[in-house]
Each structure stands twice: as structure tokens, then as C-alpha cells.
Amino acid sequence: MSDTLLEVTDLRTQFFTDEGVVRAVDGVSFDIGEGEIVGLVGESGAGKSVVAQSILRLVEEPGEIVGGEIRYRDELLFGLEDGPGADATERDGMLTEAEMREGIRGTEIAIIFQDPMESLNPVFTVGDQLREFIEINRDLGRKAAREEAVHLLREVGIPEPESRYGDYPLQFSGGMRQRALIAMALACEPSLVVADEPTTALDVTVEGQILELVDDLQERYETSFLWVTHDMGVVAEVCDRVNVMYLGEIVERASVDDLFYETKHPYTRALLDSIPRPDETVKSLDPISGVMPEAIDPPDGCRFHPRCPAAREVCTSVNPDARLVTADEDASHHAACLEHEDAFGAGYESSPSLDAETAAGFNAGFDRRADHD
């Protein structure tokens, strides 16, 4: 693997609401190498988007990054140290808000948002928005910036970019808007693009085109991507490595092939079982039973244990962190599950299986439906 571009260590982001503290991201660590596409997968509410926002320090009130460290190349994007009082203070060398704005956001790390319908300003033309962005960030004159904007629109596959330049966002289709947003993200040739579910709002054919475009652009510009998604198909398509998130924690981290063929965590297995796979024929799909608990009050022990088919008693009290679970050091396959006795030694083997009643409680509805079939 090449040099590390972004390194996130033990990131914690919490939302302080009236009902209590929501621990949306709770000790997440991962890294992204130069020119790599890293996936961040999980159900809705797992905290994926909050991770994306935290990287650019865009978490808004009442949310706050409360711990951990984010490094980008030699820059410290976020870091805390113990202050004189009980409160942690920002560490020396952490970038200021102004430095983030001028040196990082848009120019070094760009972000593509989920909804292309919402991410363009409706009152200005697409071309003008792109041109303005280039003008601000790249020290180009108005004319040069305009040419660059047209060039970029052509680059992302918008037909007749010259005449489309003067169109308003509402005159673009969803796919074209997403292309325009990708053009905007790439305008300053950032080293890292955070793609926050960029194809979720698009239909499958357009999604395919966009993924191809990204693959193509990634090769040409050697940009790294953090690809946030809930779609395992997209992960298989574009990612080099994958992090699987569940309820604010990373439960499995592996290369794409290992994740799909050597799955080491019950949650990932459940995820994979719940989607149709072209390489296997199954009678019926297996949805994951129950719903993800609220991050405001996570279950004790392993956070997945109430829904986990492999849960044993020990899982209710010990919350595992992601540890290396293969003998092969190069594969660097991490999983946070006690069933890997070698790595954890928490006594999983000897622990009694959780009685079927809890599981049945969750499964009851599904089972009944299955009986009717």
C-alpha cells in the first residue's frame, strides 16, 4: 500500500440533544492511502455521514467532535490534548477554522453530497457556480476560469458544455447535476474526495455511468476517495478497501475481496445475506432482524449482539474493538467480534449461546410471514 494520505484515529463525534448525548461516531479509526478508494459502509444511522462531515470539521450544532485525531498528510485537522482544567483543549498545530477554509476544504479535500438536487444553488447557472468556485480557489481570471469550467463540464461527460454552461440547475437532470457536482469537486484537483452516498438518489443506469466516470477520473487524476455508501454492490464496484460501520463503530475492515469472500464479522455476513448476489442462487433473502438501536442508548457489550445470530452471553458484557483476525499480516483484515477467540480470548467458545427467546422476539414477525409462504 502506498503512503497514507488521511489517518483517522479514535474519532468521536457526539450530538448534545435535549434527550441526551447521541454518540454518533464512537471511536472510529481508519486510513486512506494515496490514490486509493476506501469504502465506508453501513445502514442508515450508522454514523457514516457524520464521519464524512467530521473529516472536514463541518459538524454542526448541536454536534461536536469530542475526541480523536485526524491527520491529513502533515497537517493536523483535528486533535485534542488535556487542558489545564478538566476540559480537553485543541492541540498546538491544529489548523484554525480559516486555515481549514482556505487550505483544505475544496482545495485539498472536496466532498460530494448525497442529493444532487439540493447541492446546487437554484438561482445561479451551473456554469457560473463552477466558474466562481474555480476563480476563488485557483487564482484564475474570470475568462480563464470560465474556460476551465467548460473544460471540466466536458470532462465529466456533459454534452455540449458550452451551451449547457448557461443553464440553471433545474434544467439539468439528476445524473447531470451529479456530474456537475463531481466537476466541482474535482475543480481544484483535490487529493481526496469524500463522496457521501453520491449515487443514492440516482437510478441504477445513471449510477453505473457515474461509477464508471469516477473510476476513470480517479485513474487520470490519481485522486483518493472515501466512498460512503450503504450499497454493497457499489462497494464491490469501486472500492479497494472497505470499512463496515455499525452504530458508530467500525466492525470490520478489509480489502474488498477479503470482505466479500472471507467475511469475518456476523454483521457483514448478515449485510451480504440480505442482498441478492449474482454469484449465488438463493431461495429467499435473509433480512437482518430487528432495527438498529438508537445511538443515544447503545446496548451494553457488543452493540450488535441483540440482532446477532452468533451472539453468546459474553457478547452482552464485552464490547470488542476491531482487531487483526488473520494470521496473514499483509491482508490486514480487522474485525470486532469475539468469535475470533485467537485475537480476543474473551471466552466466547465456552460462553453459552444466548437463549433463542430474545432472537425469537425479533424474528417472530419474519418467521410468521415465512410460514405463510
Binding site: 438536487m117 444553488n121 437554484p122 438561482v123 466562481e132 468556485f133
Partner: protein
């Protein structure tokens, strides 16, 4: 939408034929808004009234400031200097004693009323626009910043602005003019300040929802500074209701400054202004009631013109209303 006249009902066939393709194409921009406005006959009347008054005002302004009444002197009669004594307080042409020389009659000093009304239009338009600009700029700035940041900034700014509501308008403006000077400029600024809370509250209410939009977050993620986010993204997307209010406010400002001039705060004689002509006419109301009728009519028609246009603009800018 106002009154539907029978001719309007026949028109849509033609209009819908073209709309299928233009509907999505151009629901933004000046030309679209203007096109919507043209379909509304009532708004069109307002537009014509304001257009006419504005043209008169511009001619009056040029003649007063650059030509020192040369135009009026040579083409018509002088609106400022007294004329021959015998024609004091002449009634208009419709009356038995009226003449065509002074179509609307003459005032207490024998000056032609119509020409004075024309030159008074300049003050009215100037006051309407400039004081509205004061309120618009002040109110938009305060409201946009308050709405965008929220929290204590919102509280401090909005409460500060709202204290203006607590003080009676006349007291505030008169105190203001006593402090700074009894000139028209301060009357305009005073009336402008009065309208700040209206604009601030209006734009704030829009900004609070606009700031949650995706493109604001996208702009922030792209490293745009707050100032530019507010100027380029927040305000343009919150501006439609403010624009409507501004049109109505011009009418209100004209009325208020006319009231001030009536009380002697505002344009000073001999510069003609509608409020001051009206105040002048009050003394002669028993001798020549016509005299007080004209300036009142001028104010009424102009203010109504702005109100009608404002209503039309509201309909034109509201995408939910289709005509």
C-alpha cells in the same frame, strides 16, 4: 389573482400551447417574472402608473438640478416663483372661473398647481426609493446575519431591531430630524430606519429555512467564507418576499414623507412636494377646495400604483400560483 376579465379567459389556449416546453425552461430570471407580470392586467396598471410618475420625476429632477427650471420656464410656467397677483387660487378648468392656462388652477401665491405637482413627483419618487433602500439594506443585513447564525447573535440583533417597533413613528423621525437637521435627506433616512424591522423579520424567516439547504452545506464544504455564503447563496434565495415588501414599502414611504412634509418636516419651501402643497392647500380649503384635492389625488394614485404592483409581483414570484 385579482380580477379575471373575460378576455383573459380566452387567452390561455394560446399560452398553454407554448408553455409545455417553456415551463421548465425559464421559471427563473427577470424575463420570466416580467412575463408573469404582463399576464396580470391589474399589475400592469400599477406598472404604467409608476412608469408615468417616474418619467415625470426624472424630467423634473434633471430640470431642477441641472437646468435650474429652464425647461419649465421656457415650455410652461415656473413652478417656484410667485406669479401675477390676480390669478391667486384660481379653480381648475372645469369650473366657470377656470382657464386652460392653469388647467388645475393656481395656489395661494398664484403658481400653477399642475406644474407644481409634476415637480413634486420628483420628491415623492426620490423619497420612496431612497428611504426604501435604507430600510432594505439595513433590514436585509440584520435579518440575514441573524437568521444565518442563529443563537445569541440572532437574539441580540433581532431584539435590537425590534425596539424600533416600540417607538411611535412620528416621535422617532421628528427626534431624528431635530438631532441631525430638518432636511429632506434626514426625513428619508428616518422613514427608512422605521422600515428596518419589517425587512429584517421578513428575510430572517426565509433565511432560517434556506440555511438548511444542501447548497449552503456544499458551499461551506467547498471552503467558501461565511460572508460570501450569505451574499451569494443565502440572500439571493431569500429575496423574493423582500422584493415584494420593498415595492409596497415605496408606497408607504411616499405616504409617510408626505405626512411629514405636511407637518413641516421634509422638503422646505419653495421646493414643491406633495405633502407641502397639501398643507398649503389646507389654509385655502374653504376658498378653493379643488386645490387640496389634486395633491391628495397624486399621492393616492401613486401609492396605489406601488401597492398594485407589489401584489402583482407577489403573485408573479410565487411558483404556487399559476396563471
Amino acid at each position: 389573482m385579482g380580477i379575471q376579465n373575460p378576455d383573459e379567459l380566452n387567452e390561455p389556449n394560446e399560452a398553454t400551447g407554448g408553455r409545455a416546453e417553456t415551463d421548465v425552461e425559464a421559471r427563473v430570471g427577470l424575463s420570466y417574472t416580467f412575463g408573469q407580470l404582463k399576464k396580470d392586467p391589474t399589475a400592469w396598471v400599477g406598472f404604467v402608473i409608476i412608469g408615468t410618475v417616474s418619467v415625470v420625476a426624472v424630467i423634473a429632477f434633471v430640470d431642477q438640478t441641472f437646468l435650474h427650471y429652464w425647461l419649465a420656464d421656457h415650455l410652461w410656467v415656473d413652478p417656484v416663483r410667485d406669479t401675477s397677483a390676480p390669478s391667486l387660487l384660481k379653480p381648475p378648468f372645469v369650473s366657470n372661473q377656470g382657464t386652460w392656462n392653469h388647467v388645475l388652477g393656481t395656489d395661494t401665491r398664484g403658481r400653477d398647481v399642475l406644474v407644481r405637482l409634476f415637480y413634486g413627483a420628483r420628491i415623492a419618487i426620490e423619497v420612496g426609493f431612497l428611504s426604501t433602500v435604507v430600510g432594505l439594506v439595513g433590514g436585509t443585513a440584520a435579518g440575514a446575519v441573524a437568521g444565518f447564525y442563529g443563537g445569541w447573535i440572532d437574539d441580540v440583533l433581532m431584539r435590537a431591531v425590534e425596539t424600533l417597533y416600540a417607538i411611535p413613528f412620528l416621535v422617532l423621525v421628528i427626534a431624528f430630524m431635530t438631532a441631525f437637521g430638518r432636511t429632506l435627506v434626514f426625513a428619508m433616512i428616518g422613514v427608512g430606519i422605521i422600515s428596518i424591522p419589517t425587512f429584517a423579520r421578513l428575510i430572517r424567516s426565509r433565511v432560517v429555512s434556506v440555511r438548511e439547504e444542501g447548497y449552503i452545506e456544499a458551499a461551506r464544504a467547498a471552503g467558501v467564507r461565511d460572508r460570501n455564503i450569505i451574499l451569494r447563496h443565502v440572500i439571493p434565495n431569500s429575496f423574493a418576499p423582500v422584493l415584494v415588501q420593498a415595492t409596497l414599502q415605496i408606497g408607504i414611504a411616499i405616504l409617510l414623507v408626505a405626512g411629514l412634509s405636511f407637518l413641516g418636516f421634509g422638503a422646505q419651501p419653495p421646493t414643491p412636494s406633495w405633502g407641502q402643497i397639501l398643507s398649503n392647500a389646507r389654509n385655502a380649503i374653504l376658498v378653493n377646495p379643488w386645490f387640496s384635492f389634486w395633491p391628495g389625488l397624486a399621492i393616492l394614485v401613486t401609492v396605489m400604483g406601488f401597492n398594485i404592483l407589489g401584489d402583482g409581483l407577489r403573485d408573479a414570484l410565487d411558483p404556487r400560483i399559476q396563471n
